[in-house]
């Protein structure tokens, strides 16, 4: 007999949200995690709840993202209520600053395309004066921006902590140092070998980030993910000057400024490279010249978990029903949907039709 209703492999933001989402509905849940040193994309996360450009070319992803942004306030409320941790959600809208007319025109065109593909989200083009009215500190090189009122941001580290905390509060088990070495499908249920222990569960979710690639085949799934490095620069705490979310720079509720958004295919190297950091700093100085004298206190490289097309994978195994795949590179943006929409579906044993397009089957070459 299965000891757990649900075993979630991967203690990051995706696994944490699903595990808590299931536990809060009364399921007995085990969340398996590695130790102190893991790839842990959650630790390097930028912290956006970002709608504006998500799902370009894939309307179901755009709609799923919007749903998550809508569910986020409920998630935030639940975290505060159950754990006392304020995950610092702010959804004042998001800006994409443009430094030339060509850039602004191209951004406007992208926004029109998104609108036509997947419906309106209120994105509009702002000129410099309008941008300044929202964010007075922007420099003269900013010619304009696109603005989407649905965008926001949150503190990814606090979110991870809150999810772990809330899971425990809902009676779930957070089990660190449980690197999974084998999964054996039973009929019904699954046996998981992890950290020298044997755990059994009626259902199973693989949300192990970059580790998912090797685990998925054990239950008849495919999760062809690979690392895509992003480097991030963080400053000392500054007085608040930027409430809005932007895709390359944001000010945290503590006052530090994060800048990032590099995309590097460098395998599993999560180091940093000065030329990339330099470009990040230079680009953001062009937007916010007053940051010139701010001290950088930390830089890091983190590995995004990328599928071949950059979109999430959600899928139930056909060969071993009860085993699910869940992966994405937007663990904060999608946390609302993962906790409050995906987790209940997994517990119910069937993913909704709206998630069918996220099957990894889309990566397979169809037989002739």
């Amino acid at each position: 007999m299965a000891a757990y209703d649900l075993i979630v492999i991967g203690g990051g933001l995706v696994g944490g949200a699903i595990a808590w989402g299931a536990a809060r509905l009364g399921a007995s849940v085990a969340l398996l995690d590695e130790g102190d040193v893991a790839h842990r994309a959650a630790r390097g996360n930028f912290g956006l709840v970002w709608v504006q450009t998500k799902g370009a070319g894939m309307p179901p992803y755009a709609h799923w993202t919007r749903r998550s942004a809508e569910l986020w306030p409920e998630l935030q409320h639940a975290m505060t209520e159950r754990t006392g941790v304020d995950v610092a959600l702010r959804q004042p809208g998001g800006l994409m600053f443009c430094l030339s007319d060509e850039e602004l025109e191209s951004r406007a065109e992208q926004a029109r395309r998104m609108h036509n593909e997947s419906g309106g989200i209120g994105t509009r083009v702002l000129d410099r004066a309008e941008v300044r009215a929202l964010v007075p500190m922007v420099g003269d090189r900013v010619v304009g921006a696109t603005f989407c009122p649905l965008d926001g941001h949150a503190n990814p580290l606090k979110l991870l902590r809150a999810l772990h905390h809330a899971l425990a509060g809902a009676g779930g088990a957070y089990l660190p140092n449980r690197t999974v070495t084998a999964i054996t499908p039973q009929a019904p249920g699954f046996v998981v070998q992890a950290g020298g222990e044997r755990l059994t569960g009626a259902k199973l979710v693989i949300a192990a980030g970059l580790g998912s690639r090797d685990l998925a085949p054990m239950v008849g799934l495919a999760m062809p993910v690979s690392p895509l490095r992003g480097q991030i620069v963080v400053t000392e705490r500054l007085r608040p000057f930027l409430d809005h979310a932007t895709h390359v720079i944001r000010q945290t509720e503590e006052g530090g400024v994060m800048m990032g958004d590099s995309h590097e295919e460098v395998g599993f190297d999560n180091g940093t490279l000065v030329p990339v950091l330099r470009d990040i700093a230079a680009r953001n100085l062009a937007v916010f010249p007053h940051l010139r004298d701010a001290s950088v206190v930390r830089v890091w490289g983190a590995l995004r978990v990328m599928t071949p097309d950059g979109h999430p994978i959600y899928q139930q195994s056909e060969r071993h029903p009860g085993a699910f795949a869940a992966t994405c590179h937007s663990g904060v943006t999608l946390a609302g949907a993962h906790a409050l929409a995906l987790a209940p579906a997994i517990l119910a044993g069937a993913l909704p039709e709206s998630l069918a397009p996220f099957s990894a089957a889309r990566f397979h070459v169809q037989p002739a």
Partner: protein, 451 residues
Amino acid sequence: MTHDCVIVGAGPAGMAAASLLARHGADVVVLDEQPAPGGQIWRGIEAADAGLRAVLGGEYAAGAAAVAEFRASGASYRPGQSVWNITPELDVWTTPADGAGHLRGRTVLLAVGAMERPVPIPGWTLPGAMGAGGVQILLKSANLLPQGLVLAGQGPLLYQLATQCIAAGAPPAAILDAARPADVWPALRLLRPAALPYLHKGLLLQGTIRAAGIPWYRGVTRLRLLGGDAVAGVRFHSGGQDTEIAANLVALHDGVIPAQHAARVAGCTHRWDAAQACFHPVLDAWGSATVPGLLVAGDAGGIGGAAAAVHQGRIAAADILRRLGRLDEAGRDRLAAADRRALARHLAIRPFLDRRYRPIALVPDDSVTVCRCEEVTAADLRAAVAMGCQGPNQAKSFTRAGMGPCQGRMCGTTVTTVLAAALGRPPGDVGHARVRPPLKPITVGELAEAT
């Protein structure tokens, strides 16, 4: 531009290595944060007058010759330069940038010395509480004499500073000596004959303090600093009773530990040294770390003191000359032979000192601030462990310990020891939070122009 050797730090080890390398014709660059050579131990030595040298003692005065030799060596000396990044490819990035961009070394020698072990006790963040080393630096570099100073904690530096203050006519108001009386005999058993000159010196220091009639409380425990906006007093337990004394200047000390961030950022493997209760880089007999071409000498590789550091610097330099093809193995071994003998002599006292002055504040009480920058308490760390946190990297995410401008220098070791105690695992297993650039803050503007 690529140099034969880039040395970081112009203290005893760095200067000795640079002098030897330059004498053998190697192209050496020495980067140092301070405006003048000498490191912290010989800080301000060139500017110190005869009176100050007399106050500070013979070991300090000995630095003058080392600095003079270094100045004359022909090594390229760049003061006022902070290193903010070292890559595994041996690129060394500095601030302020000197126009030449970053440096690359065929070899890099880290001679970045030690830092005072943080002393996390209640009240240690109040203005007026300083490291004893900090007070000593004020004496060395600015002729400042502490008035009404209370010295609290333990270790040789505490006694040395006390005697220096006495010699300068500013005797400390009290010494609150937290060295454990029970450690005396176990420590004495570790004494070797070669250590006797050091022991003799220590006894002389203690004799001077006694002769000066300074109140000297022994076996002090439950040390806490009192005050609201600044230190107003100290409370402690000694001789079976609680005592409170007024003070607005307290120098705390609990020994020194290697400055480990530079070696960590370059990717060197570290290990926990149980005897010294600190991490140090894994080194071979020549000071080579696990990153190819990177060597560490002096206290940065493990605490041995200034005299040992000089010889460690020269031993590392001998191997660098071999790596550069300027010496063969036999030549290297010959060059280093006398230094090896001298090093053994100087290290002979360490087992005694490490045992006698075991740290007192490795596992502070719940209310004590561990991370001064982000104001994270020991209780916060323990709460993270209660939630399943397995080590300092996750603890950093959950509590922000180590995320402030000091880059975790002031909390890193304590975070490890607090977590280790809470998890019931050895500190070496628990490890240290990953160190990322910049080693010292650079501005966004500087980063945007880094070439």
